[in-house]
């Protein structure tokens, strides 16, 4: 496994584990922006972190070989 793949796998696993945020389990405060309980704000932020991870995945680990092998792709010599 290349170091990139290893890092990305670790990042996916880390985000999966970070979903289980037991550290905010019994806490409502601080209220972020004065009204968002910390547990809710954390998971809002979590969605942003997932979007960032997906951006990295599409930049670094995009399975381009699948597209190029499809009809019309660069490796398609059928037409």
């Amino acid at each position: 496994m290349t170091s990139n793949r290893l890092l990305l796998s670790a990042a996916i696993a880390a985000l999966y584990l970070l979903h289980q945020d037991v550290w905010f389990w019994r806490e409502a405060r601080p209220l972020v922006f004065g009204f968002l309980p910390i547990g809710l704000a954390y998971h809002g932020l979590y969605c942003l972190a997932v979007a960032a991870l997906m951006w990295v995945l599409t930049r670094v680990a995009w399975p381009a070989h699948l597209e190029s092998a499809a009809p019309g792709g660069p490796e398609d010599h059928s037409r």
Partner: protein
């Protein structure tokens, strides 16, 4: 009546978009069922997201949060925000490429080719179809309930259900996948606007959210709603298995085949978590905030019913418990808040947003029609004998029949039964997801492993729906053992049975 008129105008727009999207297109099966594999990036993202959003997203999520608090968001939304884009990235892109290369239009076609099987594919089709039907029935029921609510009871349940079923059937019948995708795109834009507008209008009406949160924290009854102390971490963890169902749903897997280019998955996987946040966060927050509205009579009644339910002795009759549970249910809290705080015209517009969520059964109807015509009609020589035009006509006829049957059942059966069936279907599809993983990533998988998984899922769904608490081991949801046992069966049975030919396997997974 103004909100009902706005909703009717909305239904007219939806009908127009759906029917005219198909105009001037070829009548081929690929065009009708897959929009000619040519959907552009914006339609692909918004429609895929809209396809996966149901009435539960807006009404049910707020209702769940009203009763259970902020945990609703992390249980159902943020878990999906991670798992669904990952499955689209790893599985959706591969399905797209295989569909493009081999002309597949359904997952079963791919399974039949991958594992060199015929009737086992039919068994997979039967289980997938059986799990999908309750959604279509729920869609008709939701339409009846929502139109009755929005019109203040002027439109009866049977008529509301009939109107929604007719509108959905018409644009699926005429517009096929292209019509459905365009309607879903329009509906997703409405969903996304709905959350933000509702949050601003209701927040202003309530006099600001900081004050609302402080009042909830001040009461020992409502303060736990702002934490997750009432839920066990194991139970919470098991919810992360549920979003595995998404890619196994036939309508989602089939939708993956409609993209013009694979690059369209890029934006989809990046924006998917953001769309989830934009819709679910306001709905969950409003559901929690509704607990502070003790001066709104409809909400006060719900809170009183909840307190009475908590005080019931364990020996209380089941009917009394069920009646209190119905009174305490919060599925309409967002509607009540809009009724209280939004002007009439805005309540109508937002009502249209709610209708958009309720009408999510279009993709499932089309998917079942695609599956029937491709996996049964075409597979058993129907297309070879009668031609492609007859295949498309058969698909359209199937759409009509399915809608009529769903409507007839929806008008006779109690809603609770199908709501329950939908919950079991989620677990069932999650437990079917190892089929896709094994087909696409494991050279050693076999058709007998696939059959074992399919039979297990059929048995487990029937068993858990009949025996309360079945398979809920160690406080986990049944979906966890169901999925893990599916994985184990796929591995053990495949290791013990003969593999497909190397040529076939090489077309799917390169040898290392």
């Amino acid at each position: 009546m103004i909100p009902a008129l706005i909703v009717f105008a909305y239904l007219g727009v939806v009908l127009y978009i759906g029917i005219f999207a198909f105009r001037g297109r070829s009548g081929s099966a690929e065009e009708y069922f897959l929009a000619g594999r040519s959907l552009g990036p914006a339609v692909f993202l918004l429609s895929l997201f809209g396809t996966n959003m149901t009435a539960f997203t807006i009404l049910g999520s707020a209702g769940h949060a009203f009763a259970n608090g902020i945990v609703t968001f992390s249980l159902m939304a943020s878990a999906s925000a991670l798992v669904i884009p990952l499955t689209l990235f790893f599985i959706g892109t591969r399905l797209w490429a295989l569909g493009k290369r081999h002309g597949f239009m359904t997952p079963v076609q791919m399974f039949r080719d991958r594992w060199e099987c015929g009737h086992i594919g039919t068994a997979i089709f039967a289980v997938q179809a059986a799990l999908l039907v309750p959604y279509i029935i729920i869609g008709v029921m939701g339409g009846g309930t929502a139109l009755r609510g929005i019109s203040g009871g002027v439109i009866p349940y049977w008529l509301g259900g009939a109107i929604v079923a007719l509108v959905v059937m018409s644009y699926v019948f005429f517009g096929g996948m292209r019509g459905t995708a365009f309607v879903n795109t329009f509906q997703t834009v409405l969903f996304l606007s709905f959350g933000a507008i509702a949050l601003i209008v209701i927040g202003r009406g309530m006099g600001g959210f900081p004050q609302t949160m402080e009042s909830l924290l001040a009461s020992p009854d409502t303060a736990p709603l702002l934490t997750r102390e009432r839920i066990s971490p194991w139970y919470y963890f098991s919810y992360t298995f549920i979003p595995l169902s998404t890619i196994a749903f036939p309508h989602i897997a089939i939708f993956c085949l409609t993209a013009r280019r694979m690059a369209q998955f890029k934006r989809t996987v990046i924006f998917y978590p953001l769309c989830i946040m934009a819709i679910w966060l306001p709905c969950v927050f409003l559901g929690v905030a509704a607990n502070s509205l003790r001066d709104v009579p409809k909400i006060e009644q719900k809170l009183e019913a909840r307190a009475a339910l908590a005080a019931l002795p364990p020996t209380a009759p089941a009917e009394e418990r069920a009646a209190l549970r119905r009174q305490a249910a919060g599925d309409d809290v967002v509607l009540v808040m809009l009724e209280t705080f939004a002007p009439l015209w805005l309540a109508g517009l937002l009502g249209a947003g709610i209708m958009a969520a309720v009408m999510a059964s279009d993709s499932q109807i089309l998917a079942l029609s695609t599956m029937f015509t491709e996996d049964v009609f075409a597979y058993y020589e129907g297309t070879a004998k009668f031609g492609e035009r007859v295949q498309v006509h058969t698909g359209r006829l199937f759409v009509v029949l399915l809608t009529v049957v769903a409507y007839a059942i929806a008008m006779r059966a109690p809603q609770g039964i199908f709501e329950l069936a939908v919950q079991y279907a989620f677990s069932g599809y999650a437990a079917l997801s190892p089929l896709l993983v094994a087909a696409l990533f494991w050279r050693g998988s076999t058709k007998w492993g696939a059959l074992a998984v399919t039979l297990w899922v059929a048995f487990a769904v029937a068993y858990t729906s009949q025996v309360p608490g079945a398979l809920a081991w160690f406080g986990l949801l049944p979906v966890v053992p169901m999925t893990l046992i599916s994985c184990a069966l796929m591995i053990v049975v495949s290791l013990a049975t003969p593999k497909p030919s190397a040529v076939t396997i090489d077309r799917y997974i390169a040898a290392r």
